[in-house]
């Protein structure tokens, strides 16, 4: 892709020191996001996708530590001081979270919570700031924003709370919006509204999006590129059409097959992936997926290298190597 990359992640590692020992949540991860591009990271719970997002923003829990390179502009976000990262947060990179109800401060009005972003990053009068806030709220379809501003989060529905959080994230027109499972905690009809809203925003603005999700439906509608993660590692990384039409990794194939399809008559069965994700504090040697893989063979005792199997299509699997 010829576009300028706005975020480049190289050899990202995230470890947590826990009572049961060291947990490696993310392991030698490489990816990049170009301006205006949407990258979706998909995987099961515990695959390290959320920790990747938090590591970028230096928002890991206290016992977590991130190593490697997260290049944003000319700097490594991971090496920034608290003051430096605070200049980035909210202004250049905004983040929205999984559970909108608990992500808004219940003791502050929506107005205060939104205005403080502009107070922090923009020199504008209170009146201008309020106008900007109202403009963003209308953009995300909050009816009667003037009145809604004075309310507290509990007076909003879950879907409206998430829309407020999206509006809040976009106040400073960030270069990158990190959306960590933005639809997971919402019910299905509301999920659909949020998906549509995000698609609209993506078309209207040039903001890049890092979308963390396990909902392949969201991925299909929004993403340009997809990275499939498993046990803290990249398994497959490719343009969205490649992932959906030519998935190479058995894990990706299994994930796609696990999505219930209503458009194929006669096949209403669920196809779950057998077994559970491995314990991150005690990973077996070799490919982490081999225990659950239907196509595992002798070579899988060794950790497969990442290979290029097509235009921008990377794969961590011995099956890919043998084809070449």
């Amino acid at each position: 892709m010829s576009k300028q990359n706005i975020l480049e992640v190289e050899q990202l590692e995230v470890i947590f020191k826990t009572r049961d020992g060291i947990v490696q949540a993310v392991n030698s991860l490489d990816f990049s996001i170009a301006a205006g591009e949407t990258l979706a990271i998909v995987g099961e719970s515990g695959s390290g996708k959320s920790q990747t997002a938090l590591a970028i923003m230096q928002l890991l829990a206290k016992n977590g530590e991130a190593k490697g390179m997260v290049r944003f502009g000319s700097k490594n976000l991971l090496e920034m001081t608290a003051t430096e990262i605070n200049e980035i947060r909210g202004e250049h990179i905004a983040m929205i979270f999984q559970d909108p109800t608990s992500s808004l401060n219940p003791y502050m009005t929506i107005e205060k919570q939104m205005l403080e972003v502009l107070e922090r990053h923009r020199k504008m009068s209170r009146k201008e700031a309020k106008e900007r806030v109202l403009e963003m709220l209308s953009l995300v379809d909050i009816p009667d924003p003037e009145r809604r501003l004075r309310q507290y989060p509990h007076e909003y529905s879950g879907g409206m709370q998430q829309r407020v959080l999206i509006a809040m994230g976009l106040l400073c027109q960030p270069d990158l919006l990190i959306a960590d499972e933005p639809t997971t905690a919402l019910d299905v009809t509301v999920q659909d509204q949020i998906k549509r809203l995000m698609r609209e925003l993506k078309e209207k603005s040039n903001t890049s999006i890092l979308l963390i999700t396990h909902d392949l439906g969201v991925v299909a509608g929004l993403a340009d590129k997809v990275m499939v993660m498993y046990a803290g590692r990249m398994m497959e990384y490719a343009p969205v059409d490649e992932i959906f039409y030519r998935p190479r990794h058995p894990y990706t194939q299994a994930l796609l097959k696990a999505v219930p399809r209503l458009d194929q008559p006669g096949d209403y069965d669920l196809h779950p992936i057998p077994g559970n994700p491995p314990n991150l504090s005690n990973l077996p040697a070799g490919c982490p997926f081999r225990g659950r893989c239907s196509q595992a063979y002798d070579a899988c005792i060794q950790m497969p290298e990442v290979t290029e199997v097509g235009e921008g299509h990377q794969l961590r699997c011995h099956l890919g190597e043998s084809v070449e």
Binding site: M57, L59, K62, A82, T83, I85, N86, E87, I88, R89, G90, E91, A94, M95, F97, D99, S102, S103, L104, N105, P106, Y107, M108, E116, V117, R120, H121, Y152, H154, L165, M168
Partner: protein
């Protein structure tokens, strides 16, 4: 809101009635009476005294007579301090108790919140463990142990402050206020630490950090209020604790507050004095809890009465 307030006030009436009833009969069940003494009085004189204070009537009649008095805010004459009414004694002692109690409350609120917040921000460090260890001691050691130790160290050995007695003077207040405030400070500190740690781990704090706010702003603007809520709701019982705590403290430091009168009244079977102080305490505690609930509702937008 107004409806809630009126409702709460209405509930105070049966609460107080129950309190009066239980206290009235309990003090009369206690052995001995107000006019028992070493040498027995001639029966005629004893009869006269009892008649004067209506102690010769059946207890039930005394009870209703007393209720009638209370309705007129008249707690009657003290049996022991013959020239004083109970109202006068309370009016005399309350400013003293109030100033010590209020100072102790203020001190423990400010210190407790400060210490608790500091410990929470340095969670699991030496500072945190040190502060919480001291707080645990503060909670566990009863004030009738702390008070003599403080008197011994500060008043007797160092000679910096008087060991007791009362004048309207800060020197007489320091030791009693510290003794009273210590356990409450310790409790608030532990409460504050816990709630601050909880709040700092909540999702909305992560959102606040993701906005690029400095850590100080995050704590001041986003974490402080929710972290304070458990402390606020403890303030009602804490006020009650300070009031009852002062009963012992006033005795040890020889301070002429209501606590002292209460203790003396109980020893002397001064029925009216004990009853008066019990009712006064009861009203205070109900009022404190009421005020605390109002503050709580005011701080928390999700509560609507």
């Amino acid at each position: 809101m107004l409806k809630y307030a009126l409702n709460r006030l209405a509930w105070a009436i049966p609460t107080l009635l129950l309190l009066i009833t239980v206290a009235f009969f309990m003090i009369r069940v206690a052995p001995g009476g107000p006019f028992d003494s070493e040498k027995s009085l001639p029966p005629e004189i004893e009869q006269n005294i009892k008649a004067k204070y209506h102690l010769d009537e059946p207890v039930i009649q005394q009870y209703f007579r007393y209720l009638g008095q209370v309705l007129r805010f008249d707690f009657g004459p003290s049996f022991q301090y013959r020239d004083w009414t109970v109202n006068q004694l309370i009016a005399d002692g309350f400013p003293v108790s109030l100033s010590i109690g209020a100072l102790a409350m203020l001190l423990s609120f400010v210190l407790g919140i400060g210490i608790g917040t500091m410990a929470a921000l340095r969670q699991n460090t030496g500072l945190d463990h040190g502060l919480m260890g001291v707080a645990m001691l503060g909670i566990s050691i009863p004030n009738f142990v702390i008070a003599p130790l403080l008197i011994l160290a500060v008043a007797i050995n160092l000679g910096w402050l008087p060991s007791g007695g009362w004048e309207w003077n800060w020197r007489n207040m320091v030791l009693p206020v510290i003794t009273l405030a210590l356990p409450v400070t310790a409790y608030i500190a532990r409460l504050m630490r816990g709630s601050m740690i909880d709040v700092l781990n909540s999702d909305f704090i992560r959102t606040a950090r993701a906005k690029g706010l400095s850590e100080i702003t995050v704590i001041r603007r986003h974490a402080m209020k929710p972290a304070l809520l458990p402390v606020i709701s403890y303030m009602g019982p804490a006020a009650a604790g300070l009031i009852t705590g002062s009963v012992v403290i006033e005795r040890i430091f020889a301070i002429p507050g209501i606590g002292s009168y209460f203790v003396q009244g109980a020893m002397n079977r001064d029925y009216t004095l004990v009853m008066g102080v019990v009712i006064f305490y009861g009203v205070l505690i109900i009022a404190f809890n009421f005020i605390v609930d109002l503050i709580y509702a005011w701080l928390n937008p999700r509560i609507q009465y």
